[in-house]
Symmetry: C2
Subunit: 675 residues, 2 copies
């Protein structure tokens, strides 16, 4: 056959593939690559939907999950919620059609975004067990629920109804799904139980009930009756959007002028910014958007990515928050008792390709965590735990890029997952989570995101490093102290005996040798309150005066309990004392109380000092230069075009951070050797 | 708003998403997550298509790739081939429509399978630069080529033609694509150049020309004028197919009886097997397939997965082959000179979910490869190099699961990517590559596949381990030898002087102390031939007789050059000599020549011995028990239902292999200590 007729033959084979046929053949892309994972994926798709829809309807979620064994490797999964229900007409489409949903076109932080998940589970069910799925849904104020048995016709990507009916259901409203799938039920890591437990931790407003194949029921009780603040739907942020997207939006807008178009269709473009942008881009303000040319659009994007535009609004994001991160970490620990909880870091929101996102990081360290294993990484995206594909995930890439050696962990060559007794929790919240595949288990390595994750990890890592250094420094000083306090009195006694004089008071001598102000804190939990006492031991030969600064969780701080009275209490929990002079060899105090936390929710305070040479202080850090700048609202001015590039940038950031760190470390080392 | 009206409100937001809108928003899933990767992905999609279509038309591929810089971060990509061309009517659909192609429904080993790649690149181009793509194609025997400028209408997932024309093109036939994309051009690892180079290595029948943005031209010349054997399209293998798939096939078949249906629509089901299956499954042989019930289908699958069915035909697969694997490894090495090339392993084909697949593994070790880094893993799927997402890939998972410590590499805790001076090359060939996402950079962690990859790695790893042990043993014996040969003569001399007698011949004494048969080989390259000399040093006190067995590449073996004449030469390159007795302290020889290889293509022979106690031999292994069973055709009888499960299975395999290895190791240790 010559190549002319081959072209003809090939032409005959060309055909369209329906999206459902595509995914039927590639079910592993949807998260159904092994029987164990298929079971988790099915549950996850149902539960994610239930939580999303309850929050959208502002209902405190009650989700019931049951897994019944119906064969050696066949299970029936039930997921039932108290959500608002689904109107009859929509039920078959939502469950029996891929790429059909309500959340794809809206920029909001939701768990599901693709319109793929639950219908993919329905498809997997029929593919592996031949059984249709059963859905029941009731809308409030209706007498009956709608019940339908359906399969997904993969040739057409449309639902095929096997049976439908109206039935009486005692529930006021809600939705129940039953799927029969081939699967494998396991316990332990990467199990349905673990997924539900992890979900409960970061969704304390939800009540989850799980009945396992052996009929045991587990209830994850609600820890809070308050729904997370409702996330708002937003317009895209102009920075980072694609040229093609801008052109398409201009074609489809209802605005008649470019100024109005920019203001209405994007977030954070004021009338002033719109005019400035158009003028700088040399595009007439009155230009009809439909007539926008390719070159004009390019110039607009160039300008937009250079000028200062406010960061995206933050009410579209729902971070987990420092307290729940700590709780989340505590929970996975079980019997393990780490020595140190790094104060969790919730970064300011920033933006990638027009989408706001926010990174949170928590680290625990030491105690009886395993010493000789790679650290554990707990990954969450929009409050959903990610259990698979860690190796493909931007969160893991970011962990691997940070040089953890400087924060006290072992890491061969300064990259890769470090070894040591630590667990890192990372949460990525965004109006659009760029998953690497439809199975939603790993975040794509988008340079902007990896960099921000790295920054979050470094900030938290530096706290770990500070703790480790402080610990090492204290241990060293303590050792010196112990020796001095043991040997000097003995020498004094012996020499006194020899010269037959009274033993002198050597406290002054000791202070001369030590020459250090030792700051220590004591946290006592009593009557549901944390009582914190900061002690200032003056082991120098003269009186010392200093300012003490602490950072406490403001919502738990009782300002009436402070003794002495602080000079300043800021709303964000920063407190400053001007302490009176502590005479040589004596001790100064500052105390305060915190309320409303569990005992293990608080164990250490960030302590800073000023008004004294930091080289003579052990146990508190010098007040950082940005103490007063901390809570300044951020801008996205730093997002220049340069930053959309990748490799180069990493190096720059790396170097910047190296310099910064080195300086701090240098200062500390000086302090240490001088003290 | 109460939840009833919320259900109404939500219903209004429900809508269908077109597949192109979905991927436009999720372009990172298609491999466009950073400007660097976007450039590679675009080139890759074009080149993969060109190679596929040339092979299909049995044309030796000539592919031209050019990247022109048209802006700071904007590039024009040209990909031109000498393939059969595309008929006019199909051009717009192939390039302007997602999920449209010829290879989705056929079970054949091809690079592209999804009908997504090149149209995704067209979509990425218009999204980032606003520019349409230009396609020109000419079918043989036509006077003119068809040229079209088009974009992809993402709302409809249909091509929109901007301009079309017929033009004169000097080429006899072929296709040329021009895409203008935002990207970033880099050199080094994960670059377009590296991708093309790696592609050239495993596709030696293709001639690739690359013109980089600076106008430099690189030609990867064809190393072979022979196309790889054409891969045949096959029917699915019945083992591992899904219940839903069987039911669907039964509904759609044109056969009137179950026996005919099973025979015609599946590979490896003979009339006998079809009858046996139906009888055992208690399904009437005459049953009309359309009437097959769910329960009957289930029983058929149960039977099919238990009985013995021939492995899938292998002519649908095109492995790279041991020689090219070695070449591929040599190429990436550049200036690095490893000390040892493990003989590459090409495993027998096996099957997952009805799809045949085959695993190949090569390892190089030592020399000046970096000692203190994780080993490099080179991944290939259907002759396409995979450059991204290693962490998500089954190939990497398999490497991490193998305990490399027993093969002489450093690996903390016996899992994870090992450290050491080694490079591992893995190739996965299949009629269906289950990629984790549409970007086709990582293979899903399907238990059956991971296990087979592990097995391949272990087999190759064991060769590395054998080499390392042999090396260690030789070094130890050599040390002993050196000492004995140095000290004994001195002692002899001194004692002779003292007793004033002649110095005795101590060779016999040395052999008594050494008591070893030392086998060594020498490879000399002369006149384009490898001359191999195996020497048998008899350092034992008596004469020794033994059989020597070697394995050589049969296609390069010149049987006329053997001296002495072997007892047996098998077609697959296994050669056996019955050597005549070698007297004590003398040396025996066996020589042969190999032709047609480059100097560095051959450096070591697999040597085995029999007819002598292996404990007294250093430098060759005892003949393995399966020497004569080696090339027996495989069956897939081992695929029982158990094996479709995951975790348990891994453990079992692990244990099996542990036992096996331990035994071998134990035997060797005994041998070593006895010797």
């Amino acid at each position: 056959m010559d190549s002319g007729s081959i072209a003809q033959r090939l032409a005959k084979k060309q055909k369209e593939i329906s999206v459902s046929e595509f995914f039927e053949r590639n079910k592993h892309i949807l998260g159904f690559d092994s029987p164990t994972r298929a079971l988790i994926t099915s549950v996850k798709e149902g539960v994610d939907n239930s939580l999303d829809v309850c929050e959208e309807a502002e209902i405190l979620p009650e989700v019931f999950v049951q897994i019944k064994r119906v064969g050696r490797d066949e299970f029936r999964i039930v997921i039932e919620d108290n959500g608002p229900g689904i109107v009859k007409k929509q039920v078959p489409h939502i469950f029996g059609r891929l790429l059909y949903g309500s959340r794809f076109h809206s920029l909001r932080q939701t768990r599901g975004q693709q319109g793929l998940g639950i219908s993919a589970a329905v498809m997997y069910a029929q593919l592996t067990t031949g059984k249709p799925s059963l859905i029941r849904s009731k809308v409030r104020h209706r007498d009956v629920a709608y019940e339908v048995e359906l399969i997904l016709d993969t040739k057409k990507n449309r639902p095929r109804i096997i049976r439908q009916d109206f039935v009486v259901w005692e529930k006021e409203c809600g939705t129940r799904v039953e799927l029969q799938v081939r699967g494998r039920y396991i316990v332990g890591k990467q199990s349905v139980f673990e997924y539900l437990k992890s979900t409960a931790i970061v969704n304390p407003h939800a009540r989850l009930t799980f009945k396992d194949p052996d009929g045991r029921t587990y209830v994850f009780e609600r820890a809070s009756d308050i729904l997370p603040p409702k996330t708002e739907e937003i317009k895209p942020h102009p920075q980072g959007i694609e040229l093609g997207t801008l052109l398409k939006m201009a074609k489809e807008t209802k605005s008649y002028k470019m100024t109005a178009f920019l203001q209405k269709e994007f977030s954070r473009i004021s009338s002033r910014v719109a005019k400035e942008t158009l003028d700088k881009a040399d595009v007439p303000r009155e230009r009809v958007p439909k007539r926008l040319t390719l070159e004009e659009a390019k110039r607009i994007l160039q300008v937009v990515n250079k000028i200062k535009i406010m960061a995206p609004p933050t009410d579209c994001l729902s971070p987990i928050g420092e307290r729940l991160i700590k709780k989340g970490l505590k929970n996975v620990l079980g019997d393990q008792r780490p020595e140190f909880y790094c104060p969790p870091v919730t970064r300011e929101p920033t933006v990638f390709a027009g989408n706001p996102f926010q990174v949170e990081v928590g680290i625990v360290y030491g105690g009886n965590l395993p010493q000789d294993k790679p650290i554990d990484i707990l990954r969450y995206a929009n409050r959903v735990p990610l259990l698979y594909q860690q190796g493909a995930c931007a969160m893991a890439s970011a962990v691997e890029k940070v040089d953890w050696r400087r924060y006290g962990l072992e890491q061969r060559g300064g990259h890769g997952v470090p070894f040591g007794p630590a667990i890192v929790l990372v949460h990525f919240a965004s109006t659009k989570v760029p998953y690497t595949s439809e199975s939603k288990e790993a975040i794509a390595n988008i340079p902007k995101i990896v960099k921000e994750l790295e920054n979050g990890l470094r900030v938290c890592g530096r706290k770990l490093g500070t703790h480790m250094k402080r610990k090492a420094k204290k241990a060293k000083t303590r050792e010196k102290f112990d020796i001095v306090q043991k040997i000097l009195p003995e020498i004094a006694e012996k020499s006194s005996k020899i010269v037959k004089k009274d033993v002198p008071d050597i406290r002054k001598t000791i202070t001369k040798i030590m020459n250090v102000v030792w700051i220590d804190e004591e946290v006592v939990f009593e009557k549901r309150r944390h009582k914190v006492t900061v002690k200032i031991y003056n082991y120098t030969p003269k009186g010392q005066k200093l300012n003490l600064h602490v950072v406490v969780p403001p919502e738990h701080f009782d300002s009436n309990t402070c003794d002495p009275k602080p000079k300043e209490i800021k709303e964000d929990g920063r407190i400053t004392w001007e302490l009176k002079r502590v005479p040589s060899t004596e001790i100064g105090y500052a105390t305060f109380e915190l309320f409303g936390m569990d005992e293990d929710e608080y164990d250490e305070t960030e302590l800073y000092i000023s008004g004294i040479s930091p080289t003579s202080v052990v146990g508190a850090e010098p007040l950082p230069g940005d103490w007063d700048l901390r809570v300044k609202p951020p801008t996205v001015e730093e997002i220049t075009e340069e930053e959309t590039e990748e490799e180069l940038d990493y190096d720059e950031v790396e170097e910047e951070l190296v310099d910064e760190d080195d300086e701090v470390d240098g200062a500390r080392e000086e302090a240490s050797s001088a003290g």
